[in-house]
Amino acid sequence: MNKEITQNGLWTNNVALVQLLGLCPLLAVTNNTINGIGLGVATMVTLILSNTLVSLIRGFIRSEVRLPVFVLIIACVVTVIELLMKAFFFDLFLVLGIFIPLIVTNCAIIGRAEGFASRNPVGASALDGFMMGLGFLGVLALLGAMREIIGSGTLLANADLMFGKPAKALTITFNEDYSGFLLAILPPGAFFGLAILIAAKNAMGVRAKDRDTLIDPTLNT
């Protein structure tokens, strides 16, 4: 069960690459790695908490009001995260500010609440939230890194916003004279990048299937 949840969240049923949910913030913030990681972590924490809370109340929730209750839980969790971020990562909040409240509208979160947490035990639901969130975070970070490297020739710029002053050293500049490739940073670059990631994932899936077929030809029948 746990292995299946992990595999589903990270790969087979990945929020961004397979379910294609939450694309608005995904496409909007990934113009660099740190923004991607920041929003990814916030989404992941929201998913863990909302899944856990929904699972806790699943026994006595009344089905006719379950969706408003889910929305209420998610909205509360996101608001609390926003406040905590303002209190402890204010500079990052200044960058990600408008996207944090938008997590409420990320269909992936209510999707997991309705589709998984409302009918599974707490532990499994928390794990599902973590893995789904991690899968989303991974794609955000990867897409952010791709766009940052191609678009501005750096990696992990502004790391100090998230990890404090010493993290400034984490920034890698590949070429001081790189004049940048604007397309990668602008919204079309986000679509191209995501398309490449989805295509790559599908290609790997097809290849894995081919290999299985070679080993056991009966699989396809």
Binding site: R62, E64, V65, L83, A87, F90, I185
Partner: protein, 203 residues
């Protein structure tokens, strides 16, 4: 029976609303002072970027005045000005101006003006100009915005407060004329506003 069901659901929702609101309210209450501190620090950092801390000795974040909406400042509401003093004497004032005609809407500026009418510095605090072209107004991207430092309405003459392409004294950037044009005009108008109102601002 049906009525009873509805009532139970209603109470259920109500309980959740109360619990959720309480939770948010408690968090808001515990983080409020920390958030206010953060906002003040960021503001102070922005103000100090225009006016080095050693040039003033008052609490500039709280020494504010209100100026009414003005076409010269590009504002449609009352805005706050920050006043810098040294030993009680006015040193400089920092305006929140708006350049309404950026390439992608309004560009919010902080414009610091010394008491003698020369510029302490200009910063773009909020804008949505094109990344890679118009965003050269940010200090992280280029030094362009420093070109206003210590300019005034005497240098250059008001008729030269234009980008070079329009026959003025200020550089535009490659590929973007509209953004610098908007900012040059906004800064010039802010200086005009100061010229006309310098007597009341420090009251």
């Amino acid at each position: 029976m049906n009525k009873k069901q509805i009532l139970i659901s209603g109470v259920f929702l109500w309980v959740f609303a109360v619990v959720g609101t309480t939770f948010v309210a408690v968090t808001e209450d515990t983080t409020r002072s920390k958030i206010e501190d953060n906002e003040r620090l960021v503001l102070l950092r922005n103000l100090n970027a225009l006016l080095p801390a050693e040039q003033l000795d008052n609490d500039i974040v709280n020494d504010t005045g209100t100026v009414p909406a003005s076409g010269l400042l590009g504002t449609q509401d009352d805005t706050i000005v920050y006043r810098a003093r040294l030993e009680g004497k006015p040193i400089a004032v920092i305006f929140n101006s708006i350049a309404p005609n950026g390439y992608s809407g309004k560009i919010h500026l902080l414009v610091g003006v010394y008491a003698d009418g020369s510029i302490a510095g200009v910063r773009a605090v909020k804008h949505s100009e094109t990344p890679g072209l118009g965003d050269a107004i940010e200090t992280q991207k280029s030094d362009w915005i420093f070109s206003f430092n210590s300019r005034s309405l005497d240098s250059p003459k008001p008729s030269k407060w234009l980008v070079k392409k329009d026959g003025g004294d200020f550089d535009q950037f490659t590929g973007a004329t509209i953004t610098p044009r908007a900012i040059v005009l906004a800064v010039k108008k802010t200086l005009l506003y100061y010229q006309q109102n310098s007597d009341n601002i420090f009251q």
